[in-house]
Symmetry: C2
Subunit: 352 residues, 2 copies
């Protein structure tokens, strides 16, 4: 098969980790007789510097014309402490999600047996953890009207959801639950927020269409606790944009494998794949960033976007092999020899 893949490296360590995912994907393509054409395009602070816009129209055109998007990371500290900055890298990310219609962000958290002792949690708390968050990605307070009034003295952000937005996300949640252990948790703050009450009533109404799925409803604050206490008690969780932002990041560190967690963002058409970690500016250019989350995002791409499970499995296998043979970056090296970002990528590509 032939694929065009938009390649959005972004900022910080983005370009370095993306390079390794490209190597590994090319190696898989070669092995299985596919042909990938990579379409690099600008995004984030890198795009602001080049063309004054974090998600330029040309980049959007490249994405739309591709079969999938592979994304690195965006964000730059230069913008973070300047509340008055007019253009921010993050705006590009949000614009991209919206324009590509990526309303469902799939974020798994699972453990690697060989990395369990890296977790801040005790072994017995995380063993067997294998959960997936479905985070709504194009609605809520991220996209509602926001601004100032009273000469800048009052700020506001509007959180808005329609029933249709909840339904399409929840539908993916129910389907994912059916494909897994048939347990679905709807995370909201229905005791306070009207949008959460809409979420809860919408999901409740859908229960009858999936009689086999056992649905639970939990408040976001309770989930923030139980994720630390008994992460392995969860399976599929669905939630709105902001709660998903906070909880998926929280979940990502419990496994001890933050640098390994991939994610996918999907809509009706194109899908985007990216590591959960951020742009990690302090590590930029040092050849120390762990590329595995991006490599595993490429695996998700083969499986989900191209429906090629064997190719995905080949990537997962070689990642597991690198872990068990200790071909890892310093974050996983346990005081033993650490490999560089590139060396890990080369090794993975060579061992596919």
């Amino acid at each position: 098969m032939k694929f065009n893949i938009a390649l959005l490296a972004g900022d910080g360590i983005g370009p370095e980790v993306i390079d390794q995912a490209v190597k590994v994907s090319d190696a898989v393509a070669k092995k299985f007789g596919h042909e990938i054409t990579w379409k690099p395009a600008l995004t984030g602070a890198a795009a602001i510097d080049a063309v004054g816009e974090p998600y330029p129209d040309e980049t959007h055109d490249v994405c739309v014309a591709s079969d999938a998007v592979l994304f690195g990371a965006i964000g730059h500290p230069r913008f973070d402490n300047d509340p008055s900055a007019k253009v921010r890298p993050e705006q590009g990310l949000l614009k991209m999600r919206k324009k590509l219609g990526l309303f469902a962000n799939v974020r798994p958290t699972f453990t690697f047996p060989s990395l369990i002792d890296k977790s801040p949690l005790k072994r017995e708390r995380i063993e067997g953890t294998d959960l997936v968050f479905l985070r709504e990605l194009t609605g809520g307070i991220y996209f509602g009207e926001k601004g100032r009034r009273d000469e800048g003295e009052t700020a506001y952000d509007n959180c808005v959801y329609t029933r249709a937005e909840v339904q399409r996300l929840a539908k993916k949640g129910f389907e994912l639950a059916m494909a897994r252990s048939k347990k679905l948790c709807c995370v909201d703050k229905a005791n306070v927020l009207e949008t959460s009450r809409l979420w809860r009533e919408t999901v409740q109404a859908m229960e009858k269409d999936y009689p086999e799925v056992e649905v639970s409803y939990e408040f976001v604050d309770a989930v923030a606790m139980r994720l630390v206490q008994w992460p392995n008690s969860y399976d599929v969780l669905i939630t709105e944009n902001l709660f998903g932002d906070i909880l998926t990041d929280e979940a990502s560190v419990i496994s001890g494998s933050m640098g390994l967690m991939p994610s996918a963002s999907m809509g009706s058409d194109i899908a985007l794949f990216e590591p959960i970690h951020g742009s990690y500016p302090q590590a930029t250019g040092l050849n120390i960033a762990n590329p595995l989350a991006t490599v595993l995002s490429a695996a998700m791409m083969f499986e989900t976007a191209f429906n090629l499970p064997e190719e995905g499995a080949a990537i997962r296998d070689v990642v597991n092999k690198s872990l068990s043979e200790g071909v890892v970056t310093e974050d996983l090296a346990n005081g033993e020899k650490a490999y560089g970002t590139q060396e890990v990528g080369d090794w993975l590509a060579a061992n596919i």
Copy 2:
């Protein structure tokens, strides 16, 4: 001295744990020659059942006429899965916070050496953790306009903050930081939300008034991670209402001492003291709930509302004694003999 204390037991285990705090407070008062008059009043589901309103005017009058409020917990599962319920216990809580002007919620998280192994986190991750959240409690998305349009198909919640609201909370944060290790972390989502940008710019402008305080700014998702990874790297954190709800609950479980964490809510006038845990409906009436968080909330009341540090210390000491002598409820009993809620309260009062 003579005090009037409003006693709002609330729902679930609220009445049981409040009873123990009353016993212990009375014992301390007796020992130090004070006189407490308790003024019980209805709140929560209990108040809905009795008078159709979760925070009746009479209750408000009792609070306003008192020197402090001691609060149990509210919430009842009967309301949680009914998105269309017209009156909810939580509304009472929010109305109370608003009408009493309790804009600053102080939530410490600390460890008890004897309980460290109860934590889901590894010992080396939590040892030495001693942090305090200051959560804004009467603004933000909890109190903004909310409702439906499009015949119920669209729901909205407005998040609003004024500079003055941020300033008064941040002021308490800076003051607390000055009294502790002079480290302050402002938690926001300034890369996405306009209200967060107002928070950040307001706190930045206040830095010059507290030149000794070292201020850091972190995104809420990053804090959700670091709280699990390195909780002991934090000291004083300030944040808005919803982020505070999620993060303080997350923080409360890392110490392994959830059932022991007290909190205070303050404004310009009266202050309220309550355990961090909820109404724990499953345990209602079973005499198994841990009363220590409420008892320690009473200690905070003596210290903060009445400026009586010795009385507070007497309560803390007897709590520590109960822990080291194993006079504890089943959640802390480690398979050894467990005491009932009342027995723990009796023991504490007798040993003051």
